[in-house]
Symmetry: none
């Protein structure tokens, strides 16, 4: 299997967000044992969102990129913050959640008060404005 027809491509690394590969599994296992919970108890605590079998694979490092939905459920059971698990899974850089060092001045008008609907309307209008102009 895994027979490539032909890939002359230099096998580009997708340059991922970041990621320690296997440490997540051990962390999840430690968290569970620290809470004194069994695999099935965790499954029950997540309201069947994470099966005990899948959690086992997760802890043994057989899953490389668990869905954020799973991480969120587990973060709720073990009390750790969701961000921490996301970071361990390689979905977030160590301090990516609150950069804020960029984008300043132009946002000076009322965008802080935008509702989601207004945001989308503005975006569509901007798309219309620029529909013929490649920037720069």
């Amino acid at each position: 299997m895994a027979r490539r027809s032909s890939r002359p491509r230099p096998a580009r690394e997708p340059s991922e967000v970041v990621g320690p590969p296997n440490e997540l599994g051990g962390l999840l296992a430690d968290l569970r044992v620290a809470k004194g919970l069994s695999l099935r108890q965790v499954e029950e605590a997540t309201d069947k969102a994470v099966s005990n079998a899948y959690l086992s694979q997760l802890e043994k490092g057989k899953i490389q990129k668990p869905s954020p939905h799973v991480l969120h459920s587990l973060a709720a059971v073990y009390v750790v913050p969701y961000e921490a698990l996301m970071e361990k899974a390689g979905y977030l850089l160590p301090s990516e959640g609150n950069a804020g060092g960029r984008r300043r001045r132009l946002a000076a008008f009322a965008i802080d008060d935008l509702t989601a609907e207004e945001e989308e309307e503005l975006l569509k209008y901007l798309a219309f404005l620029r529909s013929g102009k490649p920037s720069s």
Copy 2:
């Protein structure tokens, strides 16, 4: 700076992590058009991290759970912060990303690249939007 407290807050079901189903596709399409980029130009801009074919399916709502890795790449191309796409994809609750209480009401989509004229046009349009619409 007057504070608009009359934001129509959409009720949310406390069942799932979050539940905007298909809104992500339209948002991504709007962002791309607003930048004046084609599907293949975005693929190129992400350094082949997101194929044009997949981006098409993404914009048409055929993909339900895109990987955060994809969202990260797209957030880099369109200037929108990573958090925003994660939230639209249903991976984050509207105020989950920042535990420090720092409220970064983003909605700063392509604002970094706005020209002065575009900013003025947007401001006018926003004024128009808000003058004609009662709060739902």
